[in-house]
């Protein structure tokens, strides 16, 4: 008995010991390069740290945050992210659902269509930016010429990236083009999870296709939709590559974003403390979004 107990003990100890060995590489890396910097940004936000400065770094309390309040570029940048969310999230989610339903209903060539719609997802954003930069050229770009052609010269005079009003919509269009295939695939998986018996019951009841979509498909896709809406929203707040490459935030900050602003303040101007304060606001926004997601998913579980 005694012997057995001790082997059991040592077995538990062996298991715990090897578990720590298994987890150690990931735990060390995550604390050094994710959780550590996260707390660093919380701390640095209350300092005036500059990367190259003869003056010693000082704790300045909430002064960075107070300055943020009167920083018009900051508000413009974060406002652009919100505009992006308000327009791109509904448009992209609807388009993704539409594509998924069409692909799902199609018997022949459905794999080909799915492949084509998904293809932009694998094209690196830097390449997407370059292609669309050329296509948006106001005088010789494909988009203006094409619009002018199909509208008999009525459309096609837009300045796109060079216009203060059109630059952000232009970025929205190419972002949707690149990203929607990803959401379509997630919707397709959601559609395939809906039990066939529900549709059969609806057919027996003589339900119209529109009715079936509204009362069966859409409610069944609720969790998928919440996931897609939230993840697209968070992605919209991470907007950087397109605006950095195509407009560098211009014209007149019309396409500046929160991440571009963090990059410019922290990396270009070396104002690490100030950039960290912007990062903290950024994290808070993402945190609130995630909490909302959790709440909605939970309430759904209680109902279902």
């Amino acid at each position: 008995m005694v012997l057995r107990k001790s082997t059991l003990m040592s077995q538990a100890r062996y298991e715990a010991y090897s578990a720590w060995l298994f987890a150690a590489p990931a735990l060390i890396l995550l604390s050094l390069f994710l959780i550590g910097p996260f707390f660093m940004s919380l701390g640095l936000a209350f300092t005036d740290l500059r990367l190259i400065s003869p003056l010693p770094t000082e704790f300045i309390g909430f002064r960075n945050f107070v300055r943020l309040f009167s920083d018009t570029v900051f508000f413009k940048s974060i406002g652009n992210n919100f505009k992006f969310v308000l327009i791109v999230v509904p448009v992209q989610t609807t388009l993704a659902l539409l594509l998924a339903i069409m692909v799902d209903k199609t018997r022949r060539f459905s794999n080909v269509f799915r492949m084509i719609y998904f293809m932009p997802v694998v094209v690196p954003m830097i390449v997407v930016s370059v292609i669309w930069y050329f296509m948006y050229n106001p005088s010789i770009g494909l988009i203006n010429k094409g619009l002018s052609f199909i509208s008999f010269g009525v459309l096609g005079k837009s300045l796109w990236l060079e216009g203060e009003k059109t630059a952000l919509p232009a970025i929205m269009i190419l972002s949707t083009w690149q990203g929607v295939g990803f959401q379509m695939v997630i919707y397709l998986a959601g559609l395939q999870d809906i039990p066939q018996s529900l549709y059969e019951a609806a057919t027996v009841d003589g339900s119209s296709p529109w009715h079936t979509f509204w009362y069966i498909t859409l409610p069944q896709l609720r969790n998928t939709t919440i996931f897609i809406v939230i993840s697209t929203t968070i992605l919209a707040f991470q907007l950087f590559t397109q605006v950095k490459v195509m407009t560098n935030g211009g014209p007149n900050d019309a396409t500046s974003t929160t991440v571009l602003y963090i990059y410019n303040q922290g990396f270009k101007n070396l104002k690490v403390g100030y950039a960290s304060a912007v990062s903290v606001v950024f994290i808070l926004i993402v945190l609130v979004i995630s909490l909302v997601q959790r709440k909605y998913l939970k309430s759904n579980r209680e109902v279902g």
Partner: protein, 287 residues
Amino acid sequence: MKSVRLRDSLAFRKKTSVFFRYFGMAVLGIFFLFPIVFLLVSSLKPEELVAREMSSIMAFIPRQVSLQNYFDVFHEMPFLRFMMNSIIIVGSIVSLGIIVNSMAAYAFSRLRWRGRDAILTVILASMIIPFESISIPLLLEVNRFGWIDTYFVQIIVFIAIPLYIFLFYQFFLNIPKDIETAARIDGAGNFTIFFRIVLPISKPVIATVAILSFIQQWGNFLWPLMVTRGFEVRPLPVAMQTFFGMQPRIWGDIMAFASMITIPVLILFLLFQKWFIKSVASSGIKG
């Protein structure tokens, strides 16, 4: 008679609706394809034709095919160097990431130890921290370590990823316990069990993580932009941006450069299409 006509008109209506659906899908297909075709076709055109033909239907038709733009890119810059840098960095991140994340997930899903649940909660919570929000303090940190302008700094920060730990974790939870028990009775240790039994039957989740990580890293831009100065360790996307920023812009060459970043990914995608789609589909299962 009447019922036959009714049936005919129903069949006709169904046929037209199928036709319109295919038509709509084809139009959308063109919308998703034309920028990629435009890129590849332009890269094959002589420089003087790229801009001249880019506003007409000729933008999609290579009348004169030449590889001159590609030769120019190789001639003007150390393109192969950039390509090699990208392959080294992305290859290391993907392969090390699979090992490190799956090992951690194994400890969380199959072994009992004190602190496990608390640590797992922290890791799952950290999934929502966007990399962009910690990039500045992270830069400060690696700068102190003296790691700027190395492969190492571009690899090390992207190996352990909470989302990938979570994907492995979910998969491991569903592996039946008997498989391990049998091996354990035979005297196998945890390392043997993990590398010889668990990993070999985890190919689906390994493929998922490899593909998601590859798509993400091949186009990764912000971090290499901050930590590379010269061309020695610079990956393709940052080199592309530098080239794109040079005036005057040589459009044909830029298109050739952009094509060469894209073609390897497109080939992989066409070869492993099913796996790509499966990976993305399973990344969405959450909550």
